[in-house]
Symmetry: C2
Amino acid sequence: MPLLKSWVASANSADHPFPLNNLPYGVFSTEDSDPRCGVAIGDSILDLAAAEKAGLVAISGIPVFDAPHWNDFMDLGAEAWDALRARLTEILTEGSADEAKAAPLLVPMDKATLHMPIAVREYTDFYAGRNHAFNVGTMFRGPENALPPNWLHIPIGYNGRASSVVVSGTDVRRPWGQLKSPDHDLPAFLPCRRFDLELEMGAIVGTASNGPITVQEADDNIFGYVLLNDWSARDIQAWEYQPLGPFQAKSTATSISPWIITKPALEPFRTDTPEREFELLDHLKDCGPMLYDIDLAVTLAPEGKDATTITRTNYKEMYYSAAQQLAHHTTAGTPMNVGDLLGSGTISGATKPERGSLLELSWGGKEPLTLDTGETRTFLEDGDTLTLTGAAKGDGYTIGFGTCTGTVLPALKDPYAR
Amino acid sequence: MPLLKSWVASANSADHPFPLNNLPYGVFSTEDSDPRCGVAIGDSILDLAAAEKAGLVAISGIPVFDAPHWNDFMDLGAEAWDALRARLTEILTEGSADEAKAAPLLVPMDKATLHMPIAVREYTDFYAGRNHAFNVGTMFRGPENALPPNWLHIPIGYNGRASSVVVSGTDVRRPWGQLKSPDHDLPAFLPCRRFDLELEMGAIVGTASNGPITVQEADDNIFGYVLLNDWSARDIQAWEYQPLGPFQAKSTATSISPWIITKPALEPFRTDTPEREFELLDHLKDCGPMLYDIDLAVTLAPEGKDATTITRTNYKEMYYSAAQQLAHHTTAGTPMNVGDLLGSGTISGATKPERGSLLELSWGGKEPLTLDTGETRTFLEDGDTLTLTGAAKGDGYTIGFGTCTGTVLPALKDPYAR
């Protein structure tokens, strides 16, 4: 598929993240308007609440776009998803008869504030990147026992905290927590010293289910994808995570990018999961190419300084697809709801510059990373700004994810001062 | 405090679970009415939606009771909570001037269907009963390493799945899952063979917070308590839980009792937490008597047969209070919301007949339990009905929790048949 031409000129570039081929969905506000649904096209956003009101977009008769999230639209089901994409393509395509009506409903991206694209119902985070699991396991248990025995058979995951999910651009305050230094007998309550990122993709559940679903059904139920940074307090995690898993270490914040990249936009980039040592059990087997070829990168900018790219990797490094994770999530019968968010797990490539966390990049803090500014990092410092980017490269066009950024604020002096 | 007399005669008994001293909040429907808020008094329910409409109860001017959950009311804040309790006490007390107006709004309990009392926002489960943690730890790691090193310093918890919380009376289907027998090299996908209960209390967050809160603030933010059965698939858990904790093992269902017992009803039963080996860090220290003296029991009835009491214990066996759990939950900054539900963790007393799970009662399946019917149990069998009960005994009155029941349905023959 080549670049699809739009009458929105800025969208017609091989490098622009939001060409007509993409049509990512977000929530935006302006000085004059409350948060509402919009679709990015080039350097603009088409105001879908206004388009709906003007009768330009009428998917189901129920108004769904004058809302601060996409949940109501997702709830209309997959046929409505297809219908909206078809209609938007029609409206925004070069030579469209709708141009005169639609052009006044475009809002320049730089005049808009972006918000959470969905109301997150529940949030689950996985641990499904093999290189990441191997690296972390090697640090903690040595290379022979790096992967837990279950790892090659099920996508290991845990429930996270939906209330902590924030949109890109939200500052993240370094948390306090209970931790225990190896050289102390007793724990102490202190600001986190090993605050970290995890480069992940988030999959958004757009269709509810109630009971076990197949991998194909799970793939059908996914609405789209976002970039996701699972901020992690490694020292809190080390003390708390046995025996029931990470809890406060993962509850400060999880940042997501503001634009939902839908499955149809990503369809040309489907790719196979890696070769497997053990055949998966039937209920988890691939039902076609299950991953996507999406280039990912993270930059780190110390306060007031230039950014350094600290990692470059690709979503196809995952061992399990989001569909396999979602299918596994339902095996014991739990209902899944519209707006559930699934984190892929940290995405790391095979080599050092492809690692998706500072824990791996600095090998547990032992091998500080040197930034382009000359400074070094083991873990995050106050004022550091992280920026995740993602893009799938087509033939003459780009499916961009935009960015997922966040700046580390210093810990509160006294978290209980009122 | 003695038994408070009501003009609802059935409430005036030392053994009735719902005297005027209690005033538990639930959601009910009848043949003629949709789910709405009500308060139990004796054998009746006062229809609060109707009382609100009739002007008998006007707490804030905003109508909140014609709703299928108590979230809107909780959201009004602690002053409104006090005002409602005061007003209901006034209306329902013996000799009340409101009797003539209120009596027609009573619905016989046996004509009502009870529903979930809250919309569960997020669900967290803890592991804060010392005897339970010691028993389970002993089975898996031996008595010397039974308690993990962190256990006496923080209330260990993990995020659960809110979508799986169901009201008492909901049947629970035995789940399928990936498990690995010790005598097999590879896992298989099978119906759970070690399906279990966990006797817990649930605490309901009634006031939102955003950032770390003290134990006292946490106690203030709790609206009330319910009985909670955390259905657990032990064989699924054994295979999946390392390294990130329980996931599918705990996602089939969590049952709660339909009546929220509020803090003021439980106030006379506050009791101290047990003596501690390690002083807690300041942010987790008790701020007064933090537990409640509530007798708890579980019966098991095989299909079509009489029930056997399989355990009797007390909520005061907990090592950490719900307020301490909630305070810990907020340390890293995660926002807590109205409708968040916190499971206490399994409550087991020191002796065998006080253990709150079949895992402990049958010591990992090695010591089958003999029921009064002569049958034995290691774990739950299809058709088994569990009933949790709870009551605090006052001077001439009872604060009852009602019951939390559930029947095990057989696993689906093929979970993917459509």
